[in-house]
C-alpha cells in the first residue's frame, strides 16, 4: 500500500519536472511546425500587413509536379546515403584502430576531431584552394608532379566531380562524430568477451560480428539516425562549395530567400519532413530487426 502511494507521488513529480521542458518544446518546436504547416496553404507575402491568399494544395501540387524537385530529391537521397554510410564506416574503422594503446594516442585523437570542430567556412575555403585550377595543390600534384592530366580538371564545375567532392568533403568533415561515439562505446566492451571468442576459434571478422557489432548497435543506430537527418537538410557546405549540386537544402533556400516564395518553401519543408520521417522509421525498423536477429 505504502509502495503504491510513493509511486503515484513520484509520477506527479516527474510530470511537474517535465513540464518546463514540455512547454519549451511546444514553444520552440511545436509552434513553428504548426505555423509552417499553416503557411504552406497560402501565398504568403513578405509584408505581414498584406493579406495572405489561401491557395489550398497549390503549393504542394506545384512542388510535386516539378521535375527539378525530384532531381533535387534524388541527389539529396544519394548524397545522404553515401555520406551516412561513408562517415559511419570510416568513424567505426578509425575508432577500432584507436581502441588500443599506442604512443601519442591523445594527440592523434585531437587531430582526428579537428575537421569536425573547425568552422565550415574555413574548411570550405581550404578545399576550394586545394582544388583551384591555377595554384591548387591537387592540380600541382596531379598535373606537374605525377602528370596524370595536362590541364586541371574543372573539379567544382563538372556536376559529377562536384558531387563526388561534396560527398568526400562531408565524409571527411563528419566522420569524427561517429568516431567519438564509437570509441566511447568500444571502451566499455569487456576484453574477456574477445578472449572467449578467440578461445572458440573466432577470426577478426567473426569477433567483430559476434562481440563488437551487438555492443555498438544502439550507438550506431543513433549515429545513423542523427547523421541522416543532418545530411538530408545539409545546406551551407554544398552551397558554398559548388553551384552544381542542387541538394534539397539549396532548393529550399532558393525558393524561400531568392524567389521569396514563402508558401511554397513551407510546402517543400512539410514534404521533406514526411520524407525524412519515413526514412528514419524505415532505418530504425531495419536496424532494430538486424539487432534482434
Amino acid at each position: 500500500m505504502f509502495k503504491v502511494k510513493r509511486e503515484t507521488s513520484d509520477g506527479k513529480l516527474a510530470l511537474i519536472l517535465l513540464l518546463p521542458s514540455t512547454l519549451l518544446i511546444l514553444l520552440l518546436i511545436g509552434y513553428p511546425m504548426l505555423s509552417n504547416f499553416y503557411i504552406s496553404f497560402f501565398e504568403q507575402p513578405i509584408n505581414p500587413e498584406f493579406p495572405a491568399e489561401f491557395v489550398g494544395f497549390e503549393n504542394y501540387i506545384e512542388t510535386l509536379t516539378n521535375i527539378d524537385f525530384y532531381k533535387s530529391l534524388g541527389i539529396t537521397l544519394l548524397y545522404t546515403l553515401l555520406v551516412v554510410v561513408g562517415s559511419t564506416a570510416l568513424g567505426l574503422y578509425v575508432a577500432i584502430m584507436f581502441n588500443r594503446p599506442f604512443r601519442f594516442r591523445k594527440v592523434a585523437r585531437s587531430l582526428i576531431i579537428l575537421s569536425y570542430v573547425t568552422p565550415s567556412i574555413s574548411l570550405i575555403f581550404v578545399w576550394k584552394y586545394m582544388f583551384n585550377s591555377g595554384y591548387g595543390i591537387i592540380n600541382y600534384i596531379g598535373r606537374d608532379i605525377l602528370h596524370l592530366f595536362d590541364r586541371a580538371p574543372l573539379w567544382f564545375d563538372n556536376p559529377t566531380s562536384a558531387f563526388i567532392l561534396v560527398v568526400l568533403f562531408a565524409i571527411w568533415r563528419y566522420f569524427p562524430y561517429a568516431f567519438i561515439a564509437f570509441l566511447a562505446i568500444l571502451q566499455t566492451i569487456s576484453p574477456t568477451l574477445y578472449e572467449a571468442a578467440e578461445m572458440d576459434g573466432a577470426n577478426i571478422w567473426q569477433k567483430f560480428k559476434a562481440v563488437t557489432l551487438p555492443a555498438i548497435m544502439p550507438v550506431m543506430l543513433t549515429v545513423i539516425t542523427l547523421r541522416t537527418i543532418w545530411m538530408f537538410y545539409m545546406f551551407e557546405d554544398v552551397y558554398l562549395l559548388t553551384n552544381k549540386v542542387n541538394v534539397l537544402g539549396v532548393y529550399l533556400y532558393e525558393t524561400a530567400f531568392a524567389f521569396n516564395d514563402l508558401g511554397k518553401a513551407s510546402a517543400i519543408s512539410v514534404i521533406l519532413f514526411l520524407v525524412i520521417s519515413t526514412l528514419i522509421i524505415a532505418i530504425r525498423k531495419k536496424v532494430n530487426l538486424n539487432a534482434s536477429s
Partner: protein
C-alpha cells in the same frame, strides 16, 4: 498541495525566463525611445567605428537609444525576410541595392520618410549616380539614404602592360588584344582575370559590357530585352574575352588572387581591390579602365540606410534623426574610411573633406581616387532605364538567371544563342 505550489512556481519561473530571453525591441521607456540599427560591419575594427558613432549620437540625443544588430552580409537576406515576416524589422537597416528593391517591392520601405531626410540633407550633397541608384521606380521617392558605394571596372598593372608596349586599353578591341598578348596557358599565365562564376559578380561584370553596347535587360516599359542583337554581341564578346582568363568558375577570390599574384595583368573587380593593392603592391602602378563600345558604362552600387514602414511616429523620427546624423560629413567620412579605397564616398562633401583627402590610403593612389569618385556619375546598371529604376530587377538578380547564362557560355559548352534563350525562358517564368 506542496507539489501543486511547486508546479505553479516552476511555470512562473519558466515564463519569467522566456520573457527575459525575448529580445527587447524598439520600445519607449519613460520618454525614451530605443531603435534598432542593423548593419553589416562585423569586423572588429569597423564595429569599433560604428559603435563610436552610435555613442556620439546617443550623447547628443540622450532620449534616443540605439540598439545595434550586427549581421554578416551573407545572411542579410535570411534575416531581413524573417524579420519582415515577424513585423520585427529594425528601424534603420543597412542595405545594398538588391535588398532595397526587395523591400520596396513589398512596400516595406518608408519612401516618404527617406525623401524627407534627403530633402533635409540636400540632393546636391550626393553624386547623381548614387541618388539614381536609390530612386524608386516612379522617380519620386527613395529606397535608402546612400552611405557608401563602390564601382567596378578593369584594373591593370601599368608596368606589366608597358612591358609589352601597351597603354590603357580604351575599348573592346584593345582589351581583347592586351588579354591575348599576355595569355600563355601552358605556363598558367592569363591576360585578364574575370568573373565567370554563377554568382552576382558575373552579372555585374557582364552588365558593364552589355550596357557599353547599349543593351539593357529591360526596356522603358519594363519588358525583358535579353534577346537582342546588342545583348548577343556583348555575350559573344564576353565569351571571347573569357578564353584569356583562368579556367573554371572564377569568383571574387580567384579574380583577386590572380591579379594580386601576377597571374593576370588585368582584372575586372570592384574598388575593394584597392586596400589589397595598398597592403601588398604598388598603388602608383595601378590603372583603372572602363570598357567602351558604343558608350562608357561603369557598374556601381551603393550601400544605403533604409527606414521600414509601419513605425510609430516617435521611432520614425528617431530613425530619421539617426540617419541624418550618420550622413553628416564628418560621420560619413568616418564611415567611408572604415574601408579606405574600397568604400567610395557618395557625398560630395566627404570627397572635399580634409579627413578624407589626408587619408594615407586615398593619398597613395593619387589621381586615381579622383578618377574613381568621378566615375560614380557615369554609373549604369541593368534595370535602370531612362531614370526609371525598375523594382523587378531585384527579382531578376535574385533568380541568378544572368550569372547562370554567363557561366554556361564561358565555362560550359553552351552557345551564346542557347545561353540567352535559356535565360530568357527562366526570366519569363520568374516575372510571371
Amino acid at each position: 498541495m506542496k507539489l501543486k505550489r511547486f508546479g505553479i512556481m516552476a511555470f512562473i519561473v519558466l515564463s519569467a525566463t522566456l520573457i527575459g530571453c525575448s529580445s527587447e525591441t524598439s520600445q519607449s521607456k519613460g520618454g525614451e525611445v530605443t531603435i534598432e540599427f542593423m548593419h553589416t560591419s562585423v569586423e572588429q575594427e569597423r564595429l569599433k567605428v560604428v559603435n563610436g558613432l552610435i555613442e556620439e549620437f546617443e550623447k547628443v540625443n540622450p532620449d534616443i537609444n540605439i540598439d545595434p544588430v550586427v549581421v554578416e552580409e551573407g545572411s542579410l537576406s535570411t534575416k531581413i525576410i524573417t524579420l519582415a515576416q515577424a513585423s520585427e524589422l529594425p528601424e534603420v537597416i543597412e542595405v545594398g541595392q538588391q535588398h532595397a528593391k526587395m523591400l520596396d517591392k513589398n512596400a516595406l520601405v518608408d519612401t516618404e520618410a527617406l525623401k524627407s531626410v534627403i530633402s533635409d540633407i540636400g540632393k546636391d550633397e550626393y553624386f547623381d549616380g548614387a541618388l539614381k541608384l536609390v530612386r524608386t521606380e516612379d522617380g519620386e521617392g527613395f529606397r535608402g539614404i546612400p552611405m557608401s558605394g563602390w564601382v567596378q571596372g578593369i584594373w591593370y598593372n601599368k608596368e606589366m602592360l608597358a612591358s609589352k608596349g601597351f597603354d590603357e586599353p580604351q575599348n573592346w578591341e584593345e582589351l581583347l588584344e592586351v588579354a591575348k598578348a599576355f595569355t600563355d596557358k601552358a605556363n598558367q599565365k592569363y591576360g585578364i582575370a574575370m568573373p565567370t562564376v554563377e554568382a552576382g559578380m558575373s552579372e555585374q561584370a557582364f552588365s558593364q559590357f552589355a550596357l557599353s553596347n547599349k543593351a539593357n535587360i529591360l526596356n522603358a516599359n519594363g519588358e525583358i530585352t535579353l534577346n537582342t542583337p546588342e545583348m548577343k554581341e556583348a555575350l559573344e564578346y564576353y565569351k571571347k574575352l573569357s578564353q584569356y582568363t583562368m579556367p573554371g568558375s572564377n569568383g571574387v577570390t580567384e579574380v583577386r588572387d590572380a591579379f594580386m599574384n601576377g597571374t593576370a595583368p588585368m582584372a575586372i573587380y570592384s574598388t575593394y581591390i584597392l586596400p589589397a593593392v595598398y597592403a601588398q603592391g604598388d598603388p602608383s602602378n595601378l590603372g583603372f579602365a572602363i570598357p567602351k563600345k558604343e558608350q562608357e558604362a561603369v557598374f556601381g552600387t551603393v550601400s544605403s540606410l533604409t527606414i521600414p514602414t509601419g513605425l510609430k511616429e516617435q521611432q520614425k523620427e528617431a530613425a530619421q534623426k539617426f540617419v541624418k546624423f550618420l550622413s553628416k560629413t564628418e560621420n560619413a567620412t568616418e564611415w567611408i574610411l572604415m574601408a579606405p579605397g574600397g568604400a567610395q564616398p557618395v557625398h560630395k562633401s566627404v570627397v572635399a573633406s580634409e579627413a578624407y583627402q589626408s587619408n594615407k590610403v586615398i593619398n597613395a593612389f593619387g589621381d586615381l581616387s579622383t578618377e574613381i569618385a568621378e566615375s560614380f556619375n557615369e554609373i549604369q546598371v541593368f534595370g535602370l532605364v531612362e531614370n526609371k529604376n525598375f523594382v523587378k530587377m531585384g527579382q531578376i538578380s535574385s533568380s541568378n538567371a544572368i550569372p547562370i547564362m554567363v557561366n554556361r557560355v564561358t565555362v560550359g559548352d553552351a552557345s551564346v544563342e542557347e545561353g540567352i534563350n535559356a535565360a530568357q525562358e527562366q526570366l519569363e517564368k520568374v516575372l510571371e
